[in-house]
């Protein structure tokens, strides 16, 4: 491999008029300027000359194995054929890509590649979008001289639950093996054998279990790797597509959603430079099957005589309106209604529901997080980092759950920053994660004691916690003192109060004033929902309830009188004293009103909330439960009204990722049956409540968000429609400019790097459909002006309340904040503290309703420090009885030396040997403590 650091150009050849870091060379007779160190193939592509290739991929290191990209390069002994993916541009060199010699070489390479290729294109999934097919047609000899028997393999062989392998089609470009080893860091597939018997395969019995395996299918330049859900399901020329954003988690990867006959057939990653680099995780790639599910709710249902019966929307919304009015009346105030969920909504849906709940109903007991996140003020109010800034920082401090399990593509980006860049990782976690092997320092903390560890890092005089090695702590302090520090903040454990983590974050924020923050909340559009005010004490645009009171009262007519309840308190209040099992006493609430009606937006607290007992009590105790959902799920059994809602890929709108990046969602399908988009349900429900939200289309909702929500000011529809904004626009806008990202050269997407998107487009389905919008020059500058209240923005100002309104806008949240932190009582010597972490494949609807993914949900053991296990006299793999104050479970114990003493860990929302961890967690306690016994 060419070592870039050691390859120095002969300095005397650089003419003085060429800028530093640039070289000029001759490409087919033209003078072309390129970046120093750039590979010929990339420089030629930017200059408009596409050199055929198979193994080269712009997001991976060059290997030069396929020889397809041979070009003539001048040298001291005349021109010679060289692989353009493996030769850096040299000053003054002459490169020819279309000579007879090059064409002969391309003919030869293709004839060799086709010797053992089966030519089964008519039955191959890649047919019609196959780089081998396309490049053979464009550059190949047209005929073969090979008449011998081709090689044969058993086909297809499953190398995982998701990926099938047809080895005879492989042309040994090594894209898949390089992806697995270099990008994902999991070399579970490799070349086996030699010469004509060389094949790609797994180690016997160890499947390709990487969370990123689907990417190898996407970048395979032939049909050797195919995905189980797509195989034999469609032909690329029959597909229609739209570019959109994946909302399975909150990273916001850009995707091409391809469909046939109103069913999604597959998702392909699009190379969005600031976000996903073309990669997707397998959950995001394959979760679309839940949209296609036969079980989708298609009609509104109301419980009559104990049974859910299908009714009209009109009747259903009347029942909902009556139920909400009754709850408000019975509780003596709007606090009688609690709204839970919202992370599955679009920004427009979230805003409309926020306006309905806070502006019409008047309740502030609204929470998009299901007790699994962090206090919203802290998430929204700390200075935000982008993913690029985190990857390019000197030090990234991670205080979150396992990022590979929660935000997989963010894991790829961070890993790349560490492995390929100069990023140093300091990890603060109660247990080892997938990032731990890459950490410069990984410090452990006892659940509930994150603040103690943060203080030890922030204050050099503070004592080291017993769980942290003093040498490691010193190194962490040194790294935290670097110039560019980004802190990734999430929820390390669902059995530990989020406020405790938030407090630790604030300690770091105060100690490191230059540091910026990247939230690692994982749920779909949770960041958009919080930005839209779906959280107690918040209003749209990252504004607190009191600072925004005047502004939003003027706009909406009403805002809640006082701060409401979060999900945990809503459920606790709804559970009241009427609950069944282990009910606690009927506690008085801050605003006096007991929550009697629950509106649950696209969430299922029965599986998603950390404390299952509390949810069961709440559903039993509530007078009235409305579920707005796309799939039945366990919640339907408890709902009085079920309203069917449009899913991802069925609705236009926008979404906001962890960076605050707003990107457009594409609508590809028509929603099934009578289901409605989320914003429309809120708007119609308002009418049934005798009010009017004055919102009649998605576009109108967005215009109102832009006008009213301070953080979104200036991000108009025309800004989002600008070609440069395809990868999204980060809110809030700053005075400098809208940060438009680089789509490789505004040129078409590289058809060989990501086969399938461009080829489908060429066959008549351009992905960049969506809302029509003005494509005005200078939009970026105008938008920035508008964001800052400048008068030089008439175009963006049109349709808004004008300049006066801009200057009266309420301020956005700015931390650090005062948050109420529960007191953690030291553990007695008989108890252990529980860590409940997330897994990528869990029983959430995005996995459980997807047949190919449901089989991957793991059975989790209880992980115990080996010394604690020895003390119990239980061997690894043995049974252990876990007891809380109210319940006990018998689980399988395994030794995990990464855990501190007196800490046990298991996974949330996956099957355990008995029950689930939500049976053990007490959401009212700051940390969940357990006793371990021999069964």
């Amino acid at each position: 491999m060419v070592d870039r650091a050691t390859t120095t150009e002969p300095a005397h050849t650089v003419p003085p008029d060429v800028a530093e870091g640039q070289v000029t060379f001759t490409l087919d007779g033209r003078q072309v300027t390129a970046r120093k160190g750039e590979m010929l193939i990339a420089a030629a592509e930017r200059a408009g000359t596409f050199i055929p290739r198979f193994c080269y991929h712009p997001r991976m290191k060059s290997v030069g194995v396929c020889r397809m990209c041979l070009v003539e390069v001048s040298g001291p002994r005349g021109a010679s054929l060289q692989p353009s993916c493996f030769v850096e541009v040299a000053e003054g060199s002459e490169v020819t890509t279309d000579s007879d010699k090059v064409k002969k070489a391309q003919d030869g390479v293709l004839e060799f590649l086709l010797i053992n290729h089966p030519l089964d294109c008519p039955v191959c999934d890649k047919g019609g979008e196959c780089p081998l097919q396309d490049q053979t047609l464009a550059h190949g000899p047209g005929e073969t001289r090979f008449v011998e028997e081709k090689r044969h393999f058993e086909k297809p062989i499953p190398i995982s639950e998701l990926v099938l392998l047809d080895r005879e089609r492989c042309i040994q470009c090594s894209r898949c093996t390089r992806f697995a080893a270099e990008v994902a860091g999991e070399a579970q597939i490799d070349f086996i054998g030699r010469a004509d018997q060389l094949e790609i395969n797994i180690f016997p019995g160890l499947p390709f279990s990487s969370y990123f395996s689907g990417n190898t299918v996407q970048i395979c330049p032939v049909g050797a790797l195919t995905a189980v859900p797509y195989r034999f399901s469609a032909r690329p020329w029959d597909l229609d597509q739209v570019e959109s954003t994946c909302t399975t988690c909150s990273v916001g990867c850009r995707v091409a959603v391809q469909s046939s006959s109103n069913r999604v057939t597959r998702l392909l990653g699009i190379d969005a430079d600031p976000v996903n680099h073309g990669w997707l995780c397998d959950k995001g790639r394959f979760a679309f099957e839940s949209v296609n599910s036969e079980d989708r709710l298609t009609e509104p249902m109301v419980r009559k005589a104990g049974r859910l019966v299908t009714v009209s929307w009109h009747e259903a919304l009347d029942v909902v309106a009556d139920g909400l009015r009754a709850a408000t009346k019975k509780s003596g105030g709007p606090g009688g209604v609690g709204v839970i969920g919202g992370a599955r909504l679009t920004n427009e849906g979230a805003y409309t529901w926020a306006k309905l709940a806070k502006g019409i109903l008047g309740t502030d007991s609204v929470d998009a997080q299901l007790g699994d996140g962090l206090p919203a003020e802290v998430v929204l109010g700390l200075p935000r980092a982008t993913i690029d800034e985190a990857v390019g920082a000197d030090t990234v401090i991670v205080l979150s759950g396992d990022i590979r399990e929660e935000l997989p593509v963010l894991f790829l980006r961070l890993r790349s920053g560490i492995v390929d860049g100069d990023l140093s990782l300091v990890e603060l976690s109660p247990q080892a994660t997938a990032l731990t092997p890459h950490a410069a320092v990984s410090l452990r903390y006892l659940p509930g004691a994150a603040t103690e560890l943060a203080k030890a890092i922030a204050d050099h005089g503070a004592p080291a916690p017993a769980t942290a090695d003093p040498t490691d702590l010193a190194e962490a302090r040194r790294l935290a003192g670097a110039d560019k520090v980004v802190i990734v903040v999430g929820r390390p454990s669902l059995a530990e109060d989020g406020a405790l983590v938030a407090e630790a974050v604030q300690v770091l924020a105060r100690a490191l004033p230059k540091a910026t923050f990247l939230p690692a909340l994982r749920r779909g559009n949770v960041m958009g929902a919080l930005d839209m005010g779906l959280s107690p004490g918040l209003l749209p645009g990252r504004v607190g309830l009191e600072p925004g009171r005047q502004w939003f009262t003027q706009a909406w007519g009403k805002v809640p009188d006082e701060r409401g309840l979060g999900t945990t308190e809503i459920l606790e209040s709804a559970g009241g004293s009427t609950g069944g099992e282990g009910a606690r006493t009927d506690k008085p609430h801050r605003n006096g009103a007991r929550v009697r009606a629950l509106v649950i937006l696209g969430a299922d607290p029965l599986t998603d909330f950390p404390d299952a007992g509390m949810v069961r009590r709440a559903l039993a105790g509530a007078d009235f439960v409305v579920s707005v959902a796309s799939l039945p799920g366990p919640l339907s059994a408890h709902a009085d009204v079920v309203l069917p809602v449009a899913e991802a890929h069925e609705r236009p709108g926008t979404t906001t990722n962890i960076e605050g990046r707003i990107s457009r969602l594409g609508q590809k399908l028509v929603q099934p049956g009578q289901s409605w988009p989320d914003w429309m349900i809120a708007a119609e429900l308002a009418v049934h409540l005798g009010a009017d939200l004055h919102l009649d289309s998605v576009a109108e909702v967005w215009d109102e968000i832009e006008r009213l929500a301070p953080a979104y000011r200036g991000i108009t529809r025309s800004v989002l429609d600008t070609p440069g904004a395809t990868d999204g626009v980060v809110a809030p806008l700053t005075v400098t400019a809208v940060a438009f990202s680089r789509r490789p050269g505004s040129a078409p997407l590289d058809p060989i790097a990501f086969p399938g998107v461009e080829s489908v487009e060429q066959q008549g389905a351009p992905p960049r459909a969506g809302l029509a919008g003005a494509r005005t020059a200078g939009i970026a500058a105008n938008a920035a002006n508008a964001a800052n209240g400048s008068k030089g923005a008439p175009e963006v100002g049109a349709g808004t309340s004008g300049d006066a309104a801009v200057t009266n806008q309420p301020p956005q949240l700015a931390g650090p904040f005062e948050i109420t932190v529960p007191r953690v009582v030291p553990t007695d010597s008989y108890s252990v503290r529980l860590v409940a972490s997330r897994r990528l494949y869990d029983r959430g609807a995005a996995v459980d309703a997807v047949p190919v993914l449901a089989g991957l949900i793991p059975d989790s053991p209880l992980r115990v420090n080996p010394h604690d296990l020895d003390d119990l006299g239980i061997g690894t793999g043995g049974n252990v009885k876990v007891r809380t104050a109210t319940t006990s479970l018998v689980l399988v114990a395994v030794a995990d030396p990464s855990l501190p003493r007196k800490v046990v860990a298991t996974d949330f929302n996956v099957p355990l040997a008995e029950g689930t961890v939500a049976d053990l967690i007490d959401a009212t306690a700051p940390v969940t403590e357990l006793r371990l016994e021999t069964p």
């Binding site: 050691t6 120095t8 002969p10 300095a11 005397h12 650089v14 003085p16 499953p158 995982s160 639950e161 080893a181 860091g185 999991e186 070399a187 579970q188 597939i189 490799d190 070349f191 086996i192 054998g193 030699r194 395969n201 797994i202 180690f203 016997p204 019995g205 160890l206 499947p207 279990s209 990487s210 969370y211 590979r404 997938a434 731990t436 092997p437 890459h438 990984s442 089989g855 991957l856 949900i857 793991p858 059975d859 030396p897």
Partner: protein, 236 residues
């Protein structure tokens, strides 16, 4: 595939700060020697092929369990070990007999009756080239040049020359191998004693690091000198 067959994904490097990997199949002395071999190289991965040879001495071939052990020792995945092991003829990923009999059929041996010898071997042993006798005593292998053309047709047993063979001497050789008459001279599974050797050249890690640093510095100086030259020329 069940959930059990779909384990948690692995990532490299796992060794940092972690405990030594638990080896299930690589025996104590072999494992100790393996760690010594790894210590010879700046990159653990460089010891992959020597480790494969070493491990092969234990059972004659690289079983999946042994490849998993090697992977654990080197912070590789088992697939990467298999990828390398399956490339080389002298590394066996399927069981071989206690005596690997290699018959060269390259040009010099061919002219001296190697094909006839191989056919004789196949018929007397009852296996085709590449096969192992039912008693597990002999694996017959057709080899490319064994670098023993002066003794054509050349035959090796467990990589030790046994000289030119005729049909009769070959039968005797097999009989001796089965009876153990030549056990002192030809150990079972004794592949390459070079990797088992404990004396001889040892790499000094500090010395390697120093030499590399010196090379990097010299390179930096050359680059700086080239830059100065360029600056002077531009100035002139």
């Amino acid at each position: 595939m069940s959930n059990a067959a779909h384990p948690t994904p692995v990532d490299r490097p796992r060794s940092k700060g972690g405990p030594a990997p638990a080896l299930t199949h690589l025996g104590g002395a072999t494992a100790t020697r393996a760690r010594e071999l790894i210590a010879l190289y700046p990159e653990p991965r460089s010891a992959l092929i020597p480790l494969c040879h070493l491990a092969q001495e234990q059972e004659g071939w690289l079983s999946p369990e042994i490849m998993a052990d090697i992977a654990a020792l080197l912070d590789l995945t088992p697939a990467e070990v298999l990828g390398t092991a399956s490339f080389y003829d002298m590394l066996h990923t399927e069981p071989v007999g206690s005596h690997l009999v290699s018959v060269c059929t390259n040009i010099a041996c061919l002219l001296n009756g190697a094909m006839e010898l191989l056919e004789h071997a196949e018929s007397t042993l009852g296996v085709n080239a590449g096969g192992t006798t039912a008693d597990g005593a002999v694996t017959l292998e057709e080899a490319e040049c064994l670098a023993g053309c002066d003794g054509a047709p050349c035959v090796q047993v467990n990589h030790r020359y046994v000289g030119a063979q005729t049909a009769e001497s070959f039968d005797q050789l097999i009989a001796d191998l089965r009876s153990g008459a030549r056990a002192a001279e030809i150990p079972t599974h004794g592949t390459l004693n070079r990797v088992a050797r404990t004396t001889g050249l040892q790499a000094d890690r500090d010395q390697i690091a120093n030499e590399r640093a010196a090379m990097a510095e010299a390179q930096a100086q050359r680059a700086a000198a080239a830059k100065d030259t360029a600056a002077n020329k531009a100035g002139a």
